[in-house]
Symmetry: C2
Subunit: 474 residues, 2 copies
């Protein structure tokens, strides 16, 4: 077995970015300095079989394209030409608008989107969409345009000798600063995981049916705060607010139950000023996918939320990936949504449509330790259903509208995407590798999300990670 590159950094990236099957290996290697060729590792029994399978899949993709192509030279597992996510990067110390450009990620390299457009011979009107500091302009276009640009880029990057040409528009990812990839218009947060909704119901309303009567009839959602959506790496200041106390009157102070919500985020493009987007057309309006951490102060939320829902318990920070992967990249990672227990209204009925779920595995990390691995495929409602629901009342869709799936949780304890669930409301703290226990987030902790889809085409598509460190309340 030969890899396209035996560079250890490249292999480290595999361990760092890959999906759930590789977790134990990642943990075993710790800081990931890999001392041996892969064959030796295998012989030593250090590489589990499914890791080999994944690497073989990547190898197949890489082997299909010329060795002198950018795709072969620059790609890393999860960030090959099958992914090609967009982001906003700045060069130099001054991250002003003039130094900020729309880019694409290939491996550990950031390519100027406009520069790549010229190299790929795109017509001027399409290059115009890429001559921008972020995704905002491209989001105003439509799916045929997005897919045309993507196809041209993949073809060019896979062509012989493209590696040399690409060098002129390439930056090392370490040499740039990543910004919010688009201007968030409205931000909506859904609650689309049955396991999460059931867990939360069981924790807060132990003597009732954990799912409320509306849950299997519509994707429950609410509006969040667009102005506090931040790019990965932004520190999170522990919020202050009113917390419930047993005496009746609340107390004011820093949140004692700071939490995460591991979610998938979707950004809308191709706006619809009058809403009412039919389910069959919904994906024409979903440009791309990213990881999203909806930081949550459970105590503040618990006190404030009746009867109008979450407000300050959620509005202090929401973190998203720097990289937005086009929805098209997941075409070969489709899965059916779960069988419907209740008949959905016609506008939400997806039984006659192609599978709307996504086979993506999401990991939750405390520092370097993976504490949960959650299956996005278990979500009850698809992204298309969420978007259609959001607009069925005539609400306009704007390019840059962001919606989150809600916490992704699976049926097992290790598949829960929030610490509220992982610690069962604080009653069953987690045991961390260093011997400590934790229930909710502590100051100084760094929390990460990472995710990978393994497509039926044999490619691996990773999402940009989301990290944030908790700073103490001021």
């Amino acid at each position: 077995m030969l890899l396209a590159s035996t560079d250890t950094n490249w292999l480290c990236e595999k361990f760092n970015y890959a999906g759930s099957g590789w977790r134990e290996t990642f943990v075993s290697f710790g800081t990931c300095s890999i001392p041996e060729p892969l064959e030796s590792l295998e012989a030593l029994g250090l590489v589990p079989a499914d890791l080999l399978t994944n690497i073989e899949k990547e190898e197949k993709i890489v082997s299909d394209i010329p060795a002198t192509s950018a795709a072969a030279v620059y790609a890393t597992p999860g960030f090959g030409v099958a992914n090609l996510p967009y982001g906003s990067y700045s060069i130099g110390e001054e991250a002003g608008a003039e130094n900020t450009r729309l880019g694409l990620r290939l491996g550990e390299t950031v390519l100027s989107a406009e520069g790549l457009g010229h190299l790929a011979g795109l017509p001027a009107d399409l290059i115009g969409l890429l001559h921008a500091p972020n995704l905002d302009q491209l989001l105003t276009a439509d799916r045929p345009t997005w897919d045309r640009i993507r196809t041209d880029f993949i073809n060019f990057l896979s062509s012989a000798d493209s590696a040399d040409a690409v060098a002129s528009v390439a930056h090392s990812i370490d040499a740039v600063t990543m910004n919010l990839p688009f201007t968030v218009a409205d931000y909506v947060d859904f609650y689309a995981s049955e396991h999460h909704a059931s867990n939360v119901g069981a924790i807060f309303r132990p003597d009732q049916d954990p799912l409320l009567p509306n849950w299997k009839h519509l994707p429950v959602g609410y509006n969040g705060r667009a102005g506090s959506v931040y790019v990965t790496g932004t520190d999170v200041l522990r919020p202050k607010g009113l917390r419930p106390e047993s005496g009746g009157a609340p107390s004011f102070g820093p949140s004692r139950r700071l939490d995460i919500e591991a979610e998938m985020g979707f950004v809308a493009g191709h706006g619809a000023p009058h809403g009412e987007i039919p389910l069959s057309e919904a994906e024409d309006h979903i440009f791309g996918v990213m990881l999203l951490n909806d930081w949550s102060a459970r105590d503040i939320q618990a006190y404030e939320y009746v009867p109008l829902g979450p407000f300050l318990g959620k509005s202090f920070a929401t973190s998203i990936s720097a990289w937005v992967t086009p929805l098209t990249a997941f075409d070969a990672a489709r899965v059916s949504t779960p069988t419907r227990e209740k008949q959905l209204a016609d506008y939400l009925d997806d039984s006659h449509l192609a599978p709307g779920g996504l086979e993506i595995s999401v990991e939750v990390l405390v520092g370097t330790e993976v504490v949960a691995t959650t299956p996005y495929s278990a979500m009850y409602y698809s992204p298309a259903q969420m978007l259609t629901h959001m607009t069925v009342n005539g609400a306009p869709l704007r390019p840059g509208d962001l919606f989150g799936s809600g916490t992704i949780s699976g049926p097992e304890r290790g598949q829960r995407g929030s610490f509220l669930e992982l610690s069962w409301g604080g009653k069953e703290p987690l045991n961390l590798r260093d011997g400590s226990e934790m229930s909710f987030l502590e100051d100084g902790q760094t929390i990460g999300l990472r995710a990978t889809a393994q497509t039926t085409r044999g490619t691996i598509v990773s999402l940009g990670e989301v990290w944030g460190t908790i700073l103490p309340a001021t």
Copy 2:
């Protein structure tokens, strides 16, 4: 008694725009063609005493300034130099960005803000803030800047012979199209009227305490949809959605309980990227005031709202005035907020501060008929408390952030700002003047909000009206 103008249109405007005391007179005059000088009307017993008082107040203001000033020539009651609201106007059939400008309203005249800046001799940096299609640029400035510009404008407009100069930057309000006055960043809706919250609680939870335990400890609020905030005059399409049915499963169709919420809206300027704005500084971040109608589909809302609050029942449309009156214009219309039944947390305690309430009377109209007159002065939480609360968790404040007070209701039946309350959940329909009954909104109805403050300085400050016509579901 002499009026500054005896033009009948001018007097009609008094009837159309003035506060609750004039209601019966307005109703009596119907389409408002006033045949006689005011003295004759008084002699005929057609003008109630409080109307005369209001007109005398206006007259006093007008009499203090030279007859050749723009303030004397252009002003109408409620829209004199004591008001001077900002808006975005377009000239010509193409309402493109190049034809759209920031303007100020004086009477029935729209003045170019930039043009007025030149006439008033403002320095170039301040004129730069006014050279814009709407308020967005000015909102990025701060209170001293806003007040400096306002004072210079009032002084210029009140100076002798300014009327002639102003003609060069003036348009009749009938000759322009009004647009959304600013780009809405985030939109938050509060629930700050004790009478409204108590009424809603009594209607929906008749066997419980109508106010939930948190209500007197914090201003309950939630995030709304910024993308569906429209300027007055925008038609409202009846929304479709899932409606509760007695059988258990919901039905899908047009809302059967379409409603309004008569609210005051406040727009933030002078952003605070790290939130945490102390109560004593909150008003430095509130640029201005407008009327706001938070259209609400009560049946859709009732089905969807547990446990995460309103979503599609509210997100289809929110209407605001075309004109934003600077908060400073209400300096002489301050009133104390109600005595606090529960001790507020320090960050919300306004007992040591100047009065934070506003003496503004809001009328709800069905066509030309006033069906309710609600007192904004009865609101439990002040605009400053709402803004401080919204940012206490570190949520950033952005210029263009809009927040609504929540429905304004007083203790009496005729003081309720929603049809849910006016019809007591549909059980006690209203009798309209034409003999018909109504509970919720019917297709084809036109609903209006108008409001006036009568300040202790003797001036009358009216808010721009908010109108919307219900179109049938498609």
